[in-house]
């Protein structure tokens, strides 16, 4: 009984923290329509800043808290909204997700830069050591404070939303954004305010949860991700339900710790994955009509359809370039190029899925990992059948993920696939083996797995140089496949799915088949990429294929131009260049970690990606002048005759007087 109480207390205090984080998420989402994937990263970053102030510089706790919670975090949230998210009003859902993911990635890179890992950073909770006993269970002061914070946040939010005009504004924006403008309100300010509050709540959650584990970047970022499940249970719109969701997750996790971890076996390791599994189930259980983000937006993205002969020529040129360049590259450069090309294949696999079909999946490297495992397990000698197995097994996994996720779109799909990836990271990949159909299939475990380099028809691609040629050939082959898809009726179907899911829904079964098949195809291609990546490294560990590894690949592919094969290639080139620069100038390593994030944020300006920029520039040169895509609507400056400043009440009065109006203002 005592242990049960102890676990309950533990669960309640974690639930409190999830509730704080999740309510911030719900607030920002409802008022701005943008799901803040970087919410956890903001909490992580704030925890580090607080550590810096409180423990490194020895500031008094209240001062450090006030500075982080009421100055820095809100400021950051507001700047994020005004500077980045506001520009996304007209962007497609895919671009919105990617930009938010880019912010996450940038914050993680920045934190790793400022606070290098592998340093002990003691982070004690509030009033360490003090505890009280309630009915035989010890409750630490920190746990009590966590619960108190959740209650305070609940009351505070209720007061803001019900008792202040700013709160009424927030609810009005949720009701009818355009109407608030007619009332003379400012929805943009409402969004900035809610992002400021949201960031502050993320920061509070980060600071509260940090003592429970070592202060380290990735676990902290993901731990607050657990709060996403609570937010989804609250259907991203209802705060009370969100709090209930947080309770469910906190308690489930605590009892999982208590009663599952003592058991061995495959399911003994499920505990860390509980919140993401709940997230996955909650997403699937959401009623259809509640899902927002089903609006069909006019996308600004760019999907050229190149001619087949041109594609064949480019593909051939790539292989020839690999043949010619290979001998001139040193071992280090060769390795970098190989790695970039292998990741480029994964990036290419995103083109039909994210680019054409507009389905943002965040688990592509998980499929790559599955491919690597398939290769390692079926072809230890490097038989080409291993690559086939990699494709097939990953494709099946892709279809299995897609099946429950069929009706999810936009952020919901992104979240579900992220949950899948994190569940694999935390639970499946790190197991030594899994039993499937009575066979024992070795997984990564905590060590690395050897992946053979392919040997095809007696030709060994064992050397790094031969690897380059093989990778170029596979990339070229898949590129041709993707171009062929773009030109086919199937490709038009994918684009239609992106533009108007509603119109496509009338096609019924065909939509289901299309969606499943594009997921499977994309996962299969990623699987082959992963198998080849394993060969490049010769031995790979689970963390090569973690959720966080997907982010730079996705970001750079989107930055290159997710709508085109060229874009995926450009993304691979960028990856390779970043790595080469980081290797030659080790001091730049940290900047490089931040770059994908920064580049992704730049998408807010041009969702078509670099490939479309280059295309425009080249077309412009041909036409003799730079060509620009027309702006959506021209900004006309305020043109008060004789007044070129903001309008003051005095102006209003003057105007009223001049017009002889009845209004007494």
């Amino acid at each position: 009984m005592d242990t049960f109480l102890t676990y309950t207390v533990f669960g309640l205090s974690t639930a409190a923290i999830y509730a704080v984080a999740a309510s911030g998420l719900v607030l920002t989402y409802t008022t701005s329509g943008i799901f803040n994937f970087a919410h956890g990263a903001i909490g992580m970053f704030a925890a580090f800043v607080y550590w810096q102030l409180r423990f490194q510089w020895g500031w008094p706790t209240p001062v450090a808290l006030v500075v982080v919670l009421f100055v820095l975090a809100p400021l950051f949230g507001a700047i994020l909204e005004v500077g980045i998210m506001r520009g996304l009003e007209k962007a497609s859902e895919a671009v919105r997700v990617v930009v938010a993911v880019a912010v996450l990635s940038g914050l993680v890179g920045l934190a790793l830069w400022i606070w290098p890992p592998n340093t002990a950073r003691p982070f004690s909770g509030f009033y360490p050591g003090s505890k009280i006993h309630i009915a035989g269970a010890a409750v630490t002061a920190h746990q009590l404070i966590s619960m108190g914070c959740a209650i305070a946040v609940a009351i505070g939010l209720a007061l803001i939303l019900r008792r202040t005009r700013a709160g009424a504004d927030m609810r009005a924006v949720v009701d009818n954004r355009a109407l608030l403008v007619v009332f003379g309100g400012r929805p943009d300010r409402v969004a900035a305010l809610s992002w400021a509050i949201g960031a502050s709540l993320a920061a509070l959650a980060g600071i509260l949860i940090a003592p429970a584990l070592q202060l380290s970047v990735l676990p902290l970022t993901l731990l607050v991700v657990n709060a996403y499940a609570a937010a989804i249970i609250g259907r991203l719109s209802r705060l009370p339900a969100t709090f209930v969701g947080a309770l469910i997750i906190g308690l489930a996790e605590a009892y999982g710790v208590g009663y599952l971890s003592s058991r061995g076996g495959f399911f003994g390791g499920i505990r860390p994955a509980i919140p993401v599994l709940i997230l996955f189930v909650a997403l699937l259980a959401l009623p259809h009509a509640r899902l927002r983000g089903q609006l069909s937006r006019r996308s600004l993205d760019w999907f050229p359809s190149p001619s087949m002969s041109r594609a064949v020529a480019s593909a051939g040129a790539l292989v020839v370039a690999a043949l010619v360049l290979g001998p001139h590259l040193g071992p280090a450069n060769l390795f970098t190029a190989n790695r970039a090309l292998a990741l480029g294949i994964v990036a290419l696999s995103l083109v039909p899925l994210v680019g054409y079909a507009g389905q943002v999946a965040l688990c592509q490297m998980s499929f790559a990992g599955i491919g690597a495992l398939a290769m390692a397990n079926t072809a230890p000698g490097g038989s080409p059948l291993g690559l086939v197995a990699a494709f097939v097994v990953a494709a099946v996994a892709g279809a299995i993920v897609a099946l429950p996720a069929l009706r999810l779109r936009g952020i919901y799909l992104a979240l579900a696939t992220a949950a899948f990836a994190v569940a694999l990271d935390r639970w499946v990949f790190i197991q030594d083996a899994i039993r499937l159909f009575g066979r024992k299939i070795p997984l990564f475990g905590i060590y690395s797995v050897n992946v053979a380099r392919p040997r095809i028809g007696g030709v060994s691609f064992g050397s790094n140089r031969a690897q380059l040629v093989l990778l170029a050939m596979v990339f070229a082959l898949f590129a041709l496949l993707v171009v062929a898809i773009r030109r086919s009726a199937y490709g038009r179907m994918l684009l239609a799915m992106r533009e108007s899911p509603a119109a496509c829904a009338t096609l019924g079964l065909r939509l289901t088949v299309t969606k499943l098949s594009v997921f499977a195809l994309s996962a299969g291609m990623a699987g082959v990429g992963g198998a080849l990546l394993g060969g490049v490294h010769t031995a790979v560990a689970a963390d090569t294929f973690s959720f966080f590894q997907t982010l730079p690949v996705l970001l750079l592919a989107v930055v290159g131009g997710i709508g085109t094969v060229n874009g995926a290639f450009l993304g691979a080139v960028l990856l390779g260049l970043f790595q080469a620069v980081a290797r030659i100038f080790p001091s730049t390593n940290n900047v490089i970690n931040v770059l994908p994030g920064l580049a992704g944020v730049g998408l807010a300006r041009n969702p078509g990606g670099l490939a479309s920029d280059l295309h425009m520039a080249v077309a412009g040169l041909r036409a003799g002048r730079p060509r620009r895509r027309p702006a959506e609507s021209a900004e006309v400056p305020v043109e008060w005759i004789g007044i070129d400043r903001a309008i003051t009440p005095a102006d209003v009065a003057a105007l009223d007087a001049a017009l002889g109006m009845s209004s007494a203002r």
């Binding site: 009701d175 021209a634 009440p649 209003v652 105007l655 009223d656 017009l659």
Partner: protein
């Protein structure tokens, strides 16, 4: 009550004027060269069949929708591109099409949001409840649960309570019983006689023409006739038939 068929031109000229307005959505033009001039204190009716571009025209007048060409003038000043909330502060108040209240906010909170226009809450509430006592009894009720007529009263009350100089009302009568329409039109007449300029957009022309001082008929994005109500009656039929 304003009974002049055509109000005398004041020295100041029109209070609201549209000059050569072109506007559209996603590159498709739905308003092509509209000129409109509304004099201070008059009731001006803008009528026309479905899809004529009336709502788009008033959205342009309230600076909610940017025109592709043409000017919006308020009191002789060009206000193109002004932010809608500035226009709201300057006394141009739009009651958009549909039920223009926040359904999940109470009556009281709906009026609270009207304070964005710069008028104090108690002033707004006393005016609104004074004119429509039924709203006063529904203060804490969610606006979405009010009857259609009550919602439209709330929308009008909110707009009038902030002292507008120009009131733009889009489809006041939509979906309402004739007796309620009559009451709301009575209210419009009252505020116009207090000096407020009112632009009424309606699809069904007959009733509103009985109320208006002047009217314009719109069809296919163009003004096809303008003048005193009896003057535009003639073009009405053609406009509605033409749209069929």
């Amino acid at each position: 009550m304003s009974t002049l068929a055509a109000p005398v031109e004041t020295a100041l000229g029109p209070i609201l004027e549209l000059r050569g307005i072109h506007a559209g959505y996603h590159g498709i033009e739905v308003v092509s060269g509209v000129d409109l001039s509304v004099l201070p204190g008059e009731i001006y009716a803008l009528v026309g069949p479905n899809g004529a571009g009336k709502s788009t025209t008033v959205a342009v007048a309230a600076c909610l929708h940017a025109p592709t060409a043409g000017d919006v003038l308020l009191g002789g000043r060009v206000v193109n591109g002004a932010r809608p909330q500035d226009l709201c502060h300057l006394g141009v108040c739009l009651v958009p099409e549909g039920r223009s209240v926040f359904p999940n906010l109470s009556v009281h909170e709906n009026l609270w949001l009207a304070t964005h226009a710069g008028v104090a809450l108690d002033e707004i509430e006393s005016r609104a409840y004074g004119r429509f006592p039924v709203l006063g009894t529904r203060r804490a009720q969610l606006a979405g649960t009010l009857s259609g007529g009550e919602q439209q009263m709330l929308a009008l009350a909110r707009a009038v309570a902030v002292n507008p100089a120009v009131l733009l009302v889009d489809e006041l009568s939509m979906g309402l019983a004739p007796v309620i329409i009559a009451e709301l039109y009575g209210f419009i007449r009252e505020i116009a006689s207090a000096g407020v300029t009112v632009v009424l957009v309606e699809q069904f022309a007959r009733t509103v023409l009985g109320l208006a001082d002047r009217a314009a008929v719109m069809s296919n994005g163009k003004i096809v006739g303008a003048g005193r109500p009896d003057e535009v009656e003639g073009v009405l039929e053609a406009a509605y038939l033409g749209a069929l």
